[in-house]
């Protein structure tokens, strides 16, 4: 099993505000992130694919294909958008980076398998960096592999 990670970047704005909380509670919970006009981040996305090295190509996964999928499914959907208004999912779900990370995993998981050679590589992890001080990782609900 070899793990392959590719890094991508996109910029987007969001506002953290939950319809399930009062105005006052929203301000307490989210602080500055609750400002009504939103604010932006340069997100750094890492997509990790795991699988055996295919003997005929020497590769785990075709990077050109991976780039195409991430471009269509993630970057075109999120880059230079206001997540709360421009992305259907986040009209009713708070676009925290936790939720965005899970959404990116969901969007990529099925697409990666389409037309893949056997054995099918799996999406091992999505890592989403919101700022240089914090990042989130999601492995489809599984334990994260150690040492990465």
């Amino acid at each position: 099993m070899v793990y392959l990670t590719r890094r991508y970047r996109f910029a987007a704005s969001h506002r953290l505000h939950s319809d399930g909380l009062t105005e006052e509670r929203n301000r307490q919970v989210y602080g500055k992130c609750n400002n009504p006009y939103g604010h932006g981040h340069n997100y750094v996305l890492e997509v990790t694919v795991a699988g055996p090295v295919e003997p005929s190509t020497g590769m785990v996964y075709d990077l050109v294909k991976l780039d195409g999928i991430v471009q269509r499914e993630v970057l075109e959907r999120f880059d230079h958008t206001y997540l709360n208004l421009d992305v259907e999912t986040f009209r009713h779900v708070v676009p925290t980076t936790e939720n965005l990370c899970v959404e990116v995993f969901r969007l990529l998981d099925d697409k990666l398998r389409e037309g893949a050679t056997r054995p099918v590589p799996s999406l091992a992890r999505v890592r989403l960096e919101e700022t240089s001080s914090n990042y989130f990782e999601y492995a489809g609900g599984k334990e994260l592999p150690r040492g990465r």
Partner: protein
Amino acid sequence: MIYLTRRAEFSASHFYHNPDLSPEENRRIFGKCNNPHGHGHNYTLEVTVAGEIDPTTGMVLDLKDLKKLLEQEVLELMDHRFLNKEVPVFTKTIPTTENIAIQVWKLLAPKLSFGRLHRIRLYETPDLFVDYYGD
């Protein structure tokens, strides 16, 4: 289950010396790091907490709380300190990056009131880091 990592930086000095070994042995094992006057690093600490996303807030925990905990428990104790002299645990334990990571785990694990501590990663320099998972 989602994993959240918060990064913090601190600067400290240390030197490596085992009083049970001869001066020659200490110099052989620890090399330049045995200089008794110490030397410093800019450490980068990464604390990873695992938890479930709260459906109402969309968050695992409040990042401000984690930041505050790191400042109170780790940075106040170690930032701008000579670890061997000023941090009690390191008067008896050699303040290697391995031991500092373990100590950070011990400081944070009992104080964490949200999620589950998953990993302490401590960079001594950008090219060297250790990971500790509490076992």
